[in-house]
């Protein structure tokens, strides 16, 4: 899977979780400050990414990711 394919799916999932359009999501967006995620929302987001890609991730590592771009890179490397 290319980075672009991963990015499209991460952005789609992120938009769905925050009730936004994909076009409104930027890679530089911070989950907490720009998108307004609290701790539970952050966990739900990781759970949604897991479901999207059909994998389980280590929670300590996944929850360290701060931005949409960071999430794309995280899953791109995991799926390589």
């Amino acid at each position: 899977m290319t980075r672009e394919e991963v990015a499209a799916r991460v952005i789609n999932v992120t938009a769905r979780e925050f009730g936004m359009k994909p076009s409104e999501i930027k890679e530089s967006d911070q989950f907490t400050t720009d998108l307004g995620a609290d701790s539970l929302k952050s966990i739900e987001l990781v759970a949604a990414y897991e479901e999207e890609f059909g994998i389980s991730v280590k929670e300590e590592e996944a929850l360290k990711v701060q931005t949409v771009g960071g999430a794309i890179d995280f899953f791109f490397h995991l799926l390589k």
């Binding site: 701790s39 539970l40 966990i43 739900e44 990781v46 759970a47 389980s56 991730v57 929670e59 996944a62």
Partner: protein
């Protein structure tokens, strides 16, 4: 001023020589305790408890029963059997005392004796009345406690006697006990409010003179009854409230060895356990208590506290079965119908239950952070989390993993339980809920959101 430099270690110092986790935390002493008595410094060696035969005696069916509706005979027999298992084969719970006055009292003793258990030994309790010895003799008991009140509050205002009359009566009953071949145990009621030099010590010395005529295993035992909870364990407290001075004088001035001294406390000032435990430290062997501290008014030293203290002081279980405490608490709740407070140490429903999310997080990462010792192994009580809006996703993960029995790498992550946590938060934020989420509700959520795990680990 001493300067302390930060020691930035690469591995954590868990101080396991004191907190072994496989046992309750150990109590270690680094030197002697000093007490000022008659202007002179006397020493107590607290490390003596490691070698002295300290033990617990039980008064659940006597003092413990005075404070609550009577137990049924079958309750007492079952509790007696459980006490035996709790104290183990080495007699850490050495004796249990029973009333002798009613037919039910006597039938209960017979039923307990029919179990043929070595410990706890069954002893009696009577008033200091020669006539009552008939009951002791009829029951064939080897030892009985007898009420020998020692303060002027009791002697003058309850018994309407002079000190001389009271002492004479007590001594006559002790002599009667010797004649009957029964070991007397004098319960010096209200001793922490008594004129020690003017009554207690002369009386005890008279008892010792009488004891000279009997073999060692018949000599009078002395129970120090802190009837109103006035006793104090602090060093250098004035008499008669000082526990160290009282024990020291009885041992060194009256010649009573530790194996014939016993502490019986009450909790009127929230000091019941520490006073009892301190009496072990200050040099007597027997700590008298009741299951769950039930006893007159505010209660007696709780046996559960005493037995944990015993292990902490000895650094060894010595045959005790601490998990019986859990079974006994369940028996009180389910059979006797007595609910213990949820926050009651070692046995209450919530004694090792955490509610704060940050604590649940710590517990999930490393159990020892928020659990006092290995309560799963020793008490059959794994640490738990109660789910509220404060317990967080960590709390839900901890609950679900415990519920499913998952350990190590099999444990579910917070992501797997996120939907359950969302349901929990909605209960409070959208439904305005004020109470904790129940186990039954959480089980339903596990069925809904984690059906594959529920079916694998819980179904059937």
């Amino acid at each position: 001023m001493r300067t302390y430099e930060l020691q930035d270690v690469s591995t954590p110092n868990l101080i396991e020589e004191i907190f072994p986790y496989s046992l309750p935390p150990l109590i270690k002493f680094e030197g002697k305790i000093h007490e000022l008595i008659d202007g002179k410094v006397v020493e107590f060696d607290p490390n003596e408890v490691k070698t002295r035969d300290i033990h617990i005696t039980d008064t659940t069916f006597r003092d413990g029963q005075q404070a609550r509706p009577p137990y049924k005979k079958e309750h007492m027999v079952k509790l007696y059997e459980m006490l035996s298992k709790l104290g183990g084969p080495n007699g850490v719970i050495r004796q249990s005392e029973f009333f002798l006055y009613t037919k039910n009292d006597r039938e209960t003793i017979d039923a307990c004796r029919a179990l043929n258990l070595r410990y706890p030994e069954i002893t009696g309790w009577i008033r200091a009345n020669k006539g009552d010895f008939r009951l002791v003799k009829e029951m064939g008991l080897k030892e009985t406690g007898m009420l020998t009140s020692s303060s002027d509050y009791h002697i003058f205002y309850k018994q309407n006697q002079t000190r001389k009359e009271a002492m004479q009566q007590y001594l006559e009953v002790v002599e009667a006990a010797f004649e009957a071949g029964v070991r007397p145990r004098c319960h010096l009621e209200d001793i922490t409010r008594a004129d020690l030099a003017g009554f207690v010590f002369p009386f005890v010395q008279q008892l010792e003179r009488l004891s000279e005529q009997v073999p060692e295993n018949m000599k009078v035992k002395i129970r120090l009854c802190d009837t109103m909870g006035f006793g104090l364990a602090y060093p250098n407290v004035a008499e008669p409230r000082s526990i160290p001075k009282l024990i020291w004088r009885l041992r060194h001035e009256c010649g009573i060895p530790p194996e014939r001294l016993e502490w019986h406390g009450h909790n009127d000032f929230h000091k019941v356990h520490i006073n009892a435990a301190s009496s072990w430290i200050y040099g007597l062997n027997a700590l008298n208590g009741t299951l769950f501290g039930f006893g007159e008014r505010t209660g007696n030293p709780p046996i559960e506290g005493a037995i944990i203290e015993y292990v902490s002081l000895k650094g060894d279980l010595n045959g005790v079965n601490l998990a019986m405490m859990t079974e006994m608490a369940e028996y009180y709740e389910k059979v006797i119908g007595t609910q213990l407070p949820a926050n009651y140490p070692f046995v209450g429903k919530d004694f090792n239950t955490t509610r704060a999310g940050i604590h649940a997080g710590g517990l999930r990462k490393f159990e020892q952070i928020y659990n006092i010792f290995d309560t799963t192994k020793l008490l059959n009580r794994p640490p738990r989390v109660a789910i509220t809006d404060k317990s967080g996703t960590d709390g839900v993960a901890l609950w679900v993993n415990e519920f499913l029995g998952l350990k190590g790498d099999d444990r579910l992550s917070v992501m797997k339980v996120a939907k359950i946590q969302r349901w929990v938060m909605d209960q409070y934020e959208k439904e305005g809920r004020m109470s904790s989420i129940t186990d039954q509700e959480l089980e339903e959520q596990v069925k809904i959101h984690l059906p594959e795990y529920y079916n694998k680990y819980r179904k059937n």
